[in-house]
Symmetry: D2
Subunit: 184 residues, 4 copies
């Protein structure tokens, strides 16, 4: 069965996948996981084609998405030329070990990729928690705006991802899901 | 009367204003022109508040919007904190003397500003004209994707703005106008 | 007396100025403070002309430097055309209330401005503190790379700027100062 | 023999390689070509380690470097943690089919990658040719600033790359080469 919302995800060590799973569980989103060689199978491509919205989900490695995610992006150049994804809804989130860690460079590229496909980009839509009283588990304590950001320490397991960051992604994915239903 | 679509524009030498006027003439968009001191009057702020969509229009000076446009942006920080513009539709276009001329840095900032306000960003949605047969007056010959780009030589008058670039902006503004009508 | 290193700074509420003062105290850097109207006087312009290195220092407001800092940048367009600052050394730092808060958009613009003037951009050059053991006062706990980042909560006074962030800026300014001496 | 300057290049269809070869011929730069699987051999890694300067050279595909180039970048994460490339000189150039074509997103990432490694980024340092009299074969007619840009139409062969764009890259590589000699 095809879903209106797809989360296309690459995860090197399982953190980003776990976040994506948590977000998908609250909506009807389908996970489309890019494999270790940067490939998708035909059914996965169909999921993306039929979705009204696509959420880009990847860690930030060396200032951008991992090469496997970029390989997926490069493989869409024919779809780009055919305008196959025109007017789809897009969003994105990324995880890295530092509070900043150049996550925003990843977000800029994600917005650019969505724009090339003729998409609409949905912002996070949540104010940051940025006063002295703010705590690590607050929603959007990292202060993202274009999409959702997650910071997992370099030596933290998949069970140690900050809860507030996961909650931020869940709120964001729910926002995109609602928008898609409204537009349908 | 309030319009569903507003183009908030600053123009140092008249080129960007002329482009905005051409685009507005085809739609029901209202022009909200920032003055030489970076200010808007109360009626102009009301136009922005009541609009469902806001198009950001400015030349690129020294790698970003002119200070007057940034002064307008800084003046929206209270609106940002109140989420007053949440879920508005945004787009943007920029003009500069070079084909690139760091126009894309302006576009990235425009997308960021829209995201901070909780907006949806509409991409250009038009393929570039990028073969050997492409001509200067083709639509999107500059190859923008996030928004519309215009290149007017440094010594060109407001009557010498390339026609294809103006046409690109018109197509883009019409796309945003249609989307707003669809969402209403 | 002219200094080899200038820190051109705008500060809306005193935080960025205090950080710049702390960094300048350790080196021979001169502070060039942009006034509330975005202007510099002739002596200040001379300080910038004679410096071999210029550090750009500003808070991030609405996703970029404040309008006053951009007004300064716009005022350098004649210098740009004359290549007056060609081959100068550049760096930059920014402060905002959130961990991210779109500080990186400011950094991208600062790098672009430096590049337009034909400059060399010096990176922070310090690894992030990004393990579970990392503490708020560690050097580069924010995880910047292009320049130095400071996060001061929205309701924090100038005496409550995180010490580790100030130390990060001091290390960065010292790095730039040493490079200038090496190149002289 | 090891060279002071290395150009690490990936080329999908030969255009970027041809430009890199033209630039290297004028200097003592060594070409380090990433293969179709995104890999380098040990000798190539040694060339990069021993070089004082590294120029990043890649086409822009879907808004950033091709996945093979990103795979190379991802493979440097251990070097990043060891600060193995600290204080190297960096520059970059990119080719795509459109005048803009989101080349600047590639340039931003290249600058970020260089900064992560603790490098110094060298700007293009050449004014744009942007008056009405400007011709397609002028130096920097594309109006880049952070690095050099090349626009080759989608259907142009490797023998049809605009001469002025190649000349722009050559001037830029010579500038970086001279700077390295000055710093040695």
């Amino acid at each position: 069965m095809m879903s209106k919302l797809a989360i296309v995800v690459f995860s090197g060590y399982g953190h980003t996948l776990k976040i994506a799973e948590a977000a998908a569980a609250d909506t009807d989103a389908v996970l489309v996981e890019i494999d270790a060689n940067g490939d998708l199978d035909n059914d996965q491509w169909q999921q993306l084609h039929s979705a009204k919205g696509i959420i880009l989900a990847a860690p930030t490695y060396m200032g951008n998405v991992p090469w496997q995610f970029k390989k997926f992006a490069d493989a869409t150049s024919g779809l780009w030329a055919e305008r196959a994804w025109q007017d789809k809804i897009f969003g994105g989130f990324t995880n890295s070990s530092s509070f900043n860690g150049d996550k925003q460079i990843t977000m800029i590229w994600m917005q650019t990729f969505a724009a090339q496909h003729g998409g609409l980009w949905v912002s996070l839509g949540v104010l940051p928690a940025n006063t002295k009283a703010a705590e690590r588990d607050d929603v959007n304590v990292l202060g993202g705006s274009a999409g959702a950001m997650v910071q997992t320490p370099a030596d933290a397991s998949v069970d140690e991802i900050p809860r507030g960051d996961i909650e931020t992604v869940k709120i964001y994915v729910a926002r995109i899901s609602e928008l898609i239903n409204k537009l349908s």
